[in-house]
């Protein structure tokens, strides 16, 4: 239930269900991370600071009225874009990708922010347009989405850029993008696939996709990650091997245990039962978001809650699908669990905004 606690002149906006579920996930995340990081207390401590700060951020961000976000969504988007441009100029290059901006106390992955600010901006932009959305606005929106997608993809960061693309796409779709348009765009995309393949994908990205399509071709090369991840998950069985007992994770067979593949560590150590418990928390959050979206006070709030919750869902499912080996390895964190401050903070930010949208009643209308 949405809650508005009244302290005389002063209201606190708070959704206990989301707050508890997210706190639970975050704490579970710290617990898993300790094992996944080979019992590295400093990694966990650092993550704990982000979790604490993130929860505070979520709480603070949920306090302003949605009108505030509506008003300042453009500024927020420009700020996010600025961060991306700064990254392009001053960013740290790691493994041929320039995604990180060193802020001294913390390395920011700037594309994580824009996947939040873009759907908010689009929701705001479409707030007072006649719906279903007109062709003109469709194109304006698409150009913006395409522009931002191209920037992020150019970092290069295929995974995040896809999520950014989706974040805009979801809002557009929810705002009533015509089916005919969707159909023709889809056809156009399929036709241009070979062109995109040759011109827009980096060799390592192409390799990942090829490995995905035929993992047996190279069991010790690029398919190694997928193979080892499947072994880790499969060998967990029903009950798992026990906390800190995962041999795949602890003997270095599993790659990226702290980040992309942390789900495999959880599955190995806690088995199918652990996986079901973890996923039910995620499931709960998504269902709660659906409920909140249905009961949102206006179009802006609806579109924002819908858009942001779908970004969250997409990140979650891409990560899971990648780790169990049904989609190529793209580099996608498990929300609230994987190590990495940017992703963590961006989701606290998103849920803070969702709570704000869900808890503030419109005073003027109705």
């Amino acid at each position: 239930m949405k809650k508005k606690l009244d302290f005389k002149n002063f209201s606190i906006y708070f959704d206990q269900y989301l707050f508890i579920a997210i706190t639970l996930l975050s704490v579970m995340g710290l617990f898993f991370l300790y094992s996944a990081s080979q019992e590295d207390i400093s990694t966990v401590a650092k993550q704990a600071v982000f979790v604490g700060f993130g929860l505070l951020l979520m709480f603070m961000v949920s306090q302003p009225d949605p009108d505030f976000y509506n008003t300042f969504s453009g500024l927020f988007l420009i700020f996010s874009l600025l961060l991306i441009f700064l990254t392009m100029i001053f960013g740290k290059e790691i493994n041929g990708a320039k995604r990180w901006l060193d802020l001294g106390f913390f390395t920011l992955q700037s594309s994580e922010i824009i996947k939040i600010s873009l759907p908010i901006f689009l929701s705001s932009y479409l707030y007072n347009k006649p719906l279903p959305i007109s062709t003109k606005h469709t194109f304006i929106t698409l150009i913006l989405i395409g522009f931002i997608f191209a920037i992020v993809a150019g970092q290069p960061d295929l995974g995040t850029s896809l999520v950014v693309f989706m974040s805009g796409g979801y809002v557009l779709f929810l705002a009533g993008l015509s089916w005919r348009f969707i159909g023709s765009a889809g056809a156009l995309f399929l036709l241009s696939l070979p062109f995109l393949w040759n011109n827009f994908l980096e060799p390592f990205q192409r390799q990942r996709v090829l490995t995905y399509l035929n993992p047996d071709a190279d069991p010790y090369g690029t398919a190694w990650n997928i193979t080892q991840s499947k072994i880790a998950i499969g060998s967990g069985g029903i009950n798992g091997k026990g906390y800190q007992e995962g041999s795949q994770a602890h003997l270095d067979f599993l790659p990226e245990t702290e980040t992309d593949f942390i789900f495999a560590v959880i599955a190995e150590e806690f088995g199918f039962i652990g996986v079901c418990i973890l996923l039910s928390v995620f499931f709960f959050i998504l269902i709660r978001c659906l409920y909140l979206a249905f009961n949102a006070r206006d179009r802006f709030c609806r579109l924002t809650i819908g858009g942001l919750s779908l970004v969250f869902a997409s990140t979650l499912f891409i990560n899971l699908a990648m780790v169990v080996g049904v989609v190529p390895v793209v580099g996608m964190p498990l929300p609230f669990i994987s190590k990495g401050g940017s992703s963590l903070l961006s989701f606290y930010l998103a849920f803070g905004i969702i709570i704000s949208m869900a808890t503030h009643k419109k005073l003027m209308q109705r």
């Binding site: 929810l174 499947k230 499969g234 060998s235 003997l251 067979f253 659906l290």
Partner: protein, 612 residues
């Protein structure tokens, strides 16, 4: 203000679309859960095994091969531990670079480099270890260990080299060991209930097996069983800790009846002439001397020699690898005569009083063909004893002429001819006991009476190996009570009762023994020159194998200019009489005279066996 109805439609559209995506995600959610379910529950055992295989590495531990002893407890073949530099070829990308780099630390000979290059590909294919250099010095080990980080796939470990203490003496008897074919490795692993997995091959040295001789025959006894160490390893293959260790079961030692000193004497006496010496202990029917000369360095063959040396041995005209004792086929020549005599007695064709006038030749009544004896003018009127002592061909031509070929063949077969007489000889040849069927099948000719006549003096198609000749000699010495020969002491030897189906009286056996004693002791004996070489009584029969048939001594003089055409010298002997303990056979190729060339070798060996 926005129309309420329109807002309702918009809201409905939003809900529908959001639900659509949620349904899609719901489906995805279900799909991912079911995928996880299939990994964790349906395929659990596969992945559990895969995880286990990931984190454990089996290392086979080599059992120590059994030691081979002679009958006096002397070690004949032993194992020498050496520290060897070994690589895992499947992990070495560039062999030339590797050789260049390792050569900077450990000097490699050309032969070693050649062997590495030759074996690399095969070993890599089957993921078996490859020894780079054997028997490293302490300095080499130290030099390698400090730089080992540069050679991720190389390591130093103890391997056992097979070492014969007398590398030339027992080359054919004991044989050599060598690397094992890939198929053989699999069968060894299978027998020992080890799985054929990549790890089995990895660091498991000691896949050696006996290739020839007793090393081969008793390979499974000598080999033992591999032990196994299981290590926990990380993704980089680093050994983290030992999880379990099954100790290897070392091979069993083999106690042979070979006599080191007698073998030494035989070797010295043969003096690298082509031939063979086989001596038997009569009580147990075991082989005490088994020598084929010329011989070769068995250690070189077991532990690697350069291809130059190997080719030299392979191409040697004297064929040192050829086991003349067990596989050389020689006509028994006159040594067959005692067996023919016993046939005559048994079949009642002749008795000891029967005499015959020997003109020096036998004329076959059917076609007037002449079969000559070795002595021009013949031996005069002789009985069977003199025919053996003086080795009259005419007497035995005549006796054979009166024999039924099939009965004669089955009689000779009891004496060990034409069949394997040895329990544990390596690849024994059965020689040839020709039958009319054999001749028809192989030569496409019917059996002539003349073939039977030739058989009477051990010439013609018949052939026997020195092992068979020794068996034959022992068979006569033991009056037919002889079982299969063996190298190894069997506990149940004494219990075996032997049925020989021969109906020969003890007195006839004694008369044969006496005749054979006469071969040496009698002034007319063909081997009378051996008499002073010993201090006890020996029974013997010499033989001279004609390789080229000649009419006269002058013809032979021409023929013998080519060494390869000279007669082979053969002798069978046993003693001391009247209670013989040992029997011996000696063959010297192109030695010409059985009595005076092969004889001294036989006596020297008997002296060593009897006089100590």
């Amino acid at each position: 203000m926005i129309d309420l109805n329109e807002r309702h439609i918009e809201k409905k559209s939003f809900f529908n679309r959001l639900l659509l995506i949620y349904f899609f995600f719901g489906f995805l959610f279900f799909f991912l859960i079911s995928k996880t379910y299939s990994l964790q529950i349906s395929s659990y055992s596969d992945y559990e095994l895969a995880a286990l295989k990931n984190k454990t590495k089996e290392v086979l531990v080599q059992p120590v091969r059994g030691i081979i002893y002679d009958r006096n407890g002397n070690i004949l073949v032993n194992n020498v531990p050496t520290y060897d530099l070994i690589i895992q070829p499947s992990k070495v990308k560039n062999l030339d670079d590797f050789i260049i780099n390792i050569s900077k630390i450990i000097e490699l000979t050309e032969a070693e480099i050649e062997s590495i290059n030759k074996n690399f590909k095969n070993k890599a294919t089957y993921n078996r270890e490859l020894t780079i250099k054997k028997n490293l010095s302490k300095e080499e080990i130290a030099k390698f260990e400090v730089r080992s980080f540069r050679f991720q796939n190389a390591f130093i470990d103890v391997r056992y080299s097979r070492e014969s203490k007398y590398p030339f003496l027992f080359s054919h008897a004991l044989g050599y060991v060598g690397g094992v074919s890939n198929d053989k490795v699999l069968s060894i692993l299978k027998n020992q209930k080890l799985k054929q997995s990549e790890t089995n091959f990895k660091y498991s040295g000691g896949f050696i097996a006996g290739k020839t001789g007793l090393e081969n025959i008793y390979d499974s006894v000598l080999r033992g069983s591999f032990g196994k160490r299981i290590f926990e390893v990380d993704a980089k293959g680093r050994f983290l800790k030992e999880l379990s260790f099954d100790e290897p079961i070392n091979g069993k030692n083999i106690f042979t009846n070979l006599d080191l000193n007698a073998q030494k004497i035989a070797f010295e006496q043969m003096d690298n002439r082509r031939g063979a010496v086989v001596a038997l202990e009569l009580r147990s029917g075991s082989i005490v001397t088994y020598l084929s000369t010329p011989t070769f360095n068995v250690n070189g063959l077991s532990n690697g020699m350069s291809s130059l040396e190997f080719n030299k041995l392979i191409n040697d005209v004297n064929k040192p690898f050829f086991d003349r004792a067990g596989q050389g086929r020689y006509s028994p020549a006159s040594t067959i005569k005692p067996a023919i005599a016993l046939f005559g007695i048994e079949e009642k064709i002749v008795d000891w009083n029967f005499t015959l006038k020997d003109p020096g030749y036998f004329v076959l009544p059917e076609d007037q063909r002449v079969y000559r004896g070795w002595k021009k003018g013949g031996h005069g009127t002789i009985d069977m004893r003199s025919a053996i002592v003086e080795s009259s061909n005419t007497f035995f031509f005549s006796l054979a002429y009166k024999s039924d070929i099939n009965n004669l063949i089955s009689h000779l077969s009891k004496f060990g001819f034409g069949r394997n007489v040895c329990k544990d000889c390596f690849n024994p040849d059965s020689g040839l006991l020709p039958t009319p069927e054999w001749k028809m099948n192989n030569l496409n000719f019917g059996w002539f009476k003349g073939d039977t006549v030739n058989l009477g003096v051990g010439q013609g198609y018949m052939s026997a190996t020195p092992v068979q000749l020794a068996y034959y000699s022992a068979f006569i010495a033991k009056k037919g009570n002889l079982q299969e020969l063996s190298f190894v002491k069997y506990d149940d030897t004494s219990d075996t009762t032997f049925i020989n189906n021969l109906s020969i009286d003890d007195s006839d056996w004694n008369k044969i023994h006496s005749s054979m004693i006469g071969v040496i002791e009698d002034p007319k004996g063909t081997a009378k020159r051996l008499k002073p070489l010993k201090s006890y009584v020996v029974a013997a029969k010499s033989g001279t194998v004609e390789l080229v048939s000649t009419e006269t001594k002058e013809d032979y003089k021409l023929v013998r200019q080519n060494i390869g055409n000279r007669d082979h010298a053969i002798i069978v002997a046993f003693g001391p009489m009247p209670n013989p303990e040992y029997a011996v056979s000696v063959v010297i190729e192109n030695g010409e005279s059985g009595g005076s060339v092969a004889g001294p070798v036989a006596i020297a060996v008997l002296n060593e066996l009897i006089n100590k």
